[in-house]
């Protein structure tokens, strides 16, 4: 039996980066906010202290801080002709779980998407003519210029370390010459680079490219953010990605926002509480709150005036489908919106093997790297190339955690004496030039509910139908050789190209950059939410996160996720609260 709880002004579903952002702004505006998080409490000293944080087996290979697949996973197939099967353990991506979400175990690479990324359809069609019919690429409905102040604020909350390339229209040496105009510098200088980045930058410059430091949420120095939160200098320990930072030097919800929230009497957080559905009024025109279940199996109804979905994109999509909000997307007709335009990322790389020099990859950090943007977005002429979009090409030194990172040349067997020797010979002497490619929406790639498999509460799992598209393949074939060329110029003895071929494989780790499914846009017929993240169907329901992206750009998504969250909460406070109702009339 469902038990009723006292009403709150706002209920947040999920408490990672976006949950913390919404909660901070909404409680500061005086609202009573409750966050429901299906995972446990997590904090630095209790869950990833320096005394035990550097444990590769526990955190990565045994999934210490990821969503438990036994609680909820998704099914996967490459195309509609196949039968989707459950992802029984995580591989290709690692959804977060618990307080802070994936914001605890991210790398900290914090980019802004390019101005043209937000108008991907209109910009590319204007420049190159109509897109193929099966490319369901759309404009975001919000522009870079509108988001700029929110990018800037999120960078200040996180203390991003970087080198600006364009402040108020003035090009600055050493920064990204292609970036959209910034209103301010980064709050902190770039991180210190290692040997590998120096070699990469020199090689890229020799090719006429424009290397700049990866914008990093790993601190280059001690920093105090606008909320008074302190961040410590990064120690380059190499346990960022897939790990929590033990010494407060990676921006996360815990290190930048949550302690401030926990002081406020009008903020509450309930952990180990999984939302089952968003409830609606009988006419289906307003959300009334959410139903959730706690670990004792008790089911509760939490009434709220505003419901905001702050969970991972895959979970937000599933929750809308389970709650029967919005029309599910149908790939056969192209109609419907929920689950539409699921996108990912197209990765490839070139590994450089040195003979005499040591790269010492264990001296690393999640966002320690140099990068070129010359082949990202529409920074280069795509005429006659047969694809749109692009990706950055970077040399990062994130770690040398040996279970995960022990590259060997291509002719070495997978095991035995030859493998062992090759691991030893190369372990301290390799680096990699990676291509982080965009992923353009395609009519057939989508999310819906699985007809067979259920979670522990008996609800259908989400089903993912996804494969790389023709645009992806042409993109990676065009960009990987550039990475290879830069790699060859870095002075190593040997270069091994890890090209992106074949179908998308759900097993080896690629990125946790799953996007779409709850996309934003200008038209209720082609998007789930309007330009503010407000549901077209229920004006007091908002959705946030990378699920809003109509397609994925060639960057890590968190910077844009943060900016969109601040943009959206600003609209709630300044537009919605004075006059509750649809913020955009279709």
């Amino acid at each position: 039996m469902t038990k009723q709880l006292p009403r709150v002004d706002v209920v947040l579903v999920g408490f990672g980066w976006t949950g913390a952002i919404f909660a901070e702004k909404l409680t500061a505006a005086g609202l009573d906010v409750l966050a429901l998080e299906r995972g446990p409490w997590r904090d630095t000293p209790s869950d990833f202290a320096t005394t035990f944080a550097q444990d590769e087996l526990r955190y990565y290979w045994r999934h210490g801080m990821f969503q438990e697949a036994s609680q909820d996973t998704l099914t996967f197939r490459n195309n509609s002709a196949q039968t989707a099967l459950p992802m029984r353990r995580w591989g290709s991506f690692l959804p977060g779980n618990g307080v802070g979400g994936a914001g605890v175990h991210w790398n900290g690479q914090t980019y802004r998407f390019l101005p043209s990324d937000f108008v991907a359809r209109s910009h590319n069609e204007e420049r190159y003519g109509p897109l193929p019919a099966d490319m369901t690429v759309q404009d975001y409905g919000v522009t870079y210029e509108e988001l700029e102040p929110h990018f800037d604020y999120f960078e200040k909350i996180c203390g991003i370390c970087g080198q600006a390339g364009n402040v108020d229209g003035e090009t600055i040496e050493g920064g990204n010459p292609f970036e959209g105009m910034r209103s301010d510098q980064y709050p902190n200088p770039p991180m210190r680079m290692t040997f590998s980045q120096d070699r990469f930058a020199a090689s890229a410059r020799a090719l006429g490219l424009n290397p700049f430091p990866v914008p990093s949420a790993n601190m280059s120095r001690a920093y105090v953010n606008p909320l008074g939160m302190q961040l410590a200098p990064c120690t380059y320990c190499g346990f960022c990605e897939k790990h929590g930072c033990g010494n407060y030097s990676k921006a996360s919800p815990q290190t930048t926002i949550i302690p401030v929230l926990m002081q406020r009497p009008n903020f509450g957080l309930r952990t180990n509480s999984e939302v089952l559905s968003v409830e609606k009024t009988p006419d289906g025109k307003h959300a009334t709150g959410v139903t959730y279940v706690d670990t004792s199996g008790e089911v509760w109804f939490q009434p709220a005036d505003i419901v905001i979905l702050c969970a991972y994109p895959l979970q937000n999509t599933r929750l809308l489908l389970l709650s029967e909000i919005g029309t599910p997307y149908d790939p056969r007709t192209g109609e419907g919106v929920v689950g539409k335009n699921y996108c990912y990322q197209v990765m490839s790389s070139a590994t450089v093997f040195f003979e005499d020099e040591y790269t010492n990859g264990f001296v690393g950090a999640g966002a320690l790297g140099m990068v070129v943007d010359d082949y990202n977005g529409d920074n280069f002429d795509h005429s006659g190339l047969g694809f749109i979009g692009g990706g950055y090409i970077a040399c990062g030194t994130t770690n040398a955690r040996p279970i995960e990172s022990h590259p060997v040349p291509e002719d070495v067997p997978r095991w035995g004496s030859a493998w062992k020797r090759a691991v030893r010979e190369n372990f301290l002497k390799t680096t990699s030039v990676g291509v982080h490619g965009s992923s353009m929406a395609h009519r057939s790639n989508h999310l819906d509910l699985d007809p067979t498999y259920k979670d522990v509460w008996g609800r259908p799992l989400l089903r993912m139908t996804y494969d790389f598209t023709l645009n992806d393949r042409r993109l990676t074939e065009h960009l990987t050789p550039v990475a290879e060329e830069i790699a060859h110029g870095m002075g190593g003895a040997h270069v091994k190209v890890n090209a992106r071929r074949g179908s998308y494989d759900s097993e080896p780790y690629q990125t946790t950059h799953n996007t779409g499914g709850t996309i934003m846009g200008t038209d209720p017929a082609s998007s789930v939410v309007n330009r503010y993240g407000q549901s077209w169907d229920l004006p007091n329901l908002f959705v946030t996160g990378a699920g809003l992206f109509p397609q994925n750009a060639g960057y890590n998504p968190t910077g844009t996720v943060g900016a969109l969250a601040y943009w959206s909460v600003d609209a709630i406070i300044n537009r919605y609260l004075p006059d509750p109702g649809p913020l955009v009339r279709p």
Binding site: P40, R58, R89, Y236, C237, M262, Y358, F362
Partner: protein
């Protein structure tokens, strides 16, 4: 079954915030615990077979120590006895199907049971084809059998030989390189062999190494010899 796994792996819902600040108390923290016990899963025969397989996957040779010196078999034994062996965190509800090569692990068996069934069939195969259990074959014959599993030339009846091979290879590498607290990588042998300095948490003094080797001894979660007085 799923319900049992859930109850065992999570704590009850809790309330935070409302001005109470961040919870914390001294002498607390989720220090590593799993796999640190002395639980075992394998029978004597199974353990012997696993040790022999690991010894071929990461051999002891002129170039340095291998899985035997690192005691990888103990690592795997403890893992199989724990939540990992039971696939407690994995989604193990049916129906089960073979799946495509891009759909990942689809065995109906959790790792421990996969090992048990596969090891029985492996020894059965070796007895009937090569005259003895795997552990008693020559290194050359062992390599031939493992190659047969890897290249899908040998098939088992009840489980996928390839799935088993991929899993034990993955677990062997884990046991060679995981922190010694989990039973393998004894005396940090795997780390010493490749030059990984272990659980150190501060390399600020070495960022400007500029391609030179960094002379640091490895440290594990429970220290190194230098932490005790001679």
């Amino acid at each position: 079954m799923a319900g049992t796994a859930l109850a065992a792996s999570r704590v009850l819902a809790s309330d935070y915030g409302r001005g109470a600040g961040m919870p914390w108390s001294p002498m607390s923290g989720e220090v590593p615990y799993y796999g640190t016990g002395s639980e075992r899963f394998f029978s004597h025969e199974e353990r012997r077979a696993v040790a022999a397989i690991c010894a071929r996957l990461i051999p002891s040779d002129d170039d340095g120590p291998g899985a035997s010196e690192a005691d990888v078999v103990t690592f795997i034994d403890r893992q199989m006895a724990g939540f990992y062996g039971r696939a407690q965190h994995w989604y193990m509800q049916g129906p089960f199907a073979e799946g495509t090569s891009t759909q990942g692990y689809q065995s109906e068996h959790p790792p421990a049971m996969l090992y048990r069934l596969a090891l029985a069939e492996l020894d059965e195969h070796c007895r009937s084809q090569m005259g003895g259990p795997f552990a008693e074959l020559t290194e050359e014959d062992q390599d031939a059998v493992l190659t047969g599993l890897d290249e899908e030339e040998i098939a088992f009846e009840r489980v996928s030989a390839k799935t088993f091979f991929d899993l034990i290879l993955e677990n062997t590498v884990e046991g060679f390189f995981a922190d010694p607290i989990y039973g393998g990588n004894r005396d940090m042998i795997g780390w010493r062999y490749v030059g990984f300095p272990g659980t150190r948490y501060d390399y600020r003094d070495f960022v400007g190494h500029n391609g030179a080797a960094i002379p640091l001894e490895p440290v594990s979660l429970q220290g190194r010899p230098g932490w005790s007085q001679p």
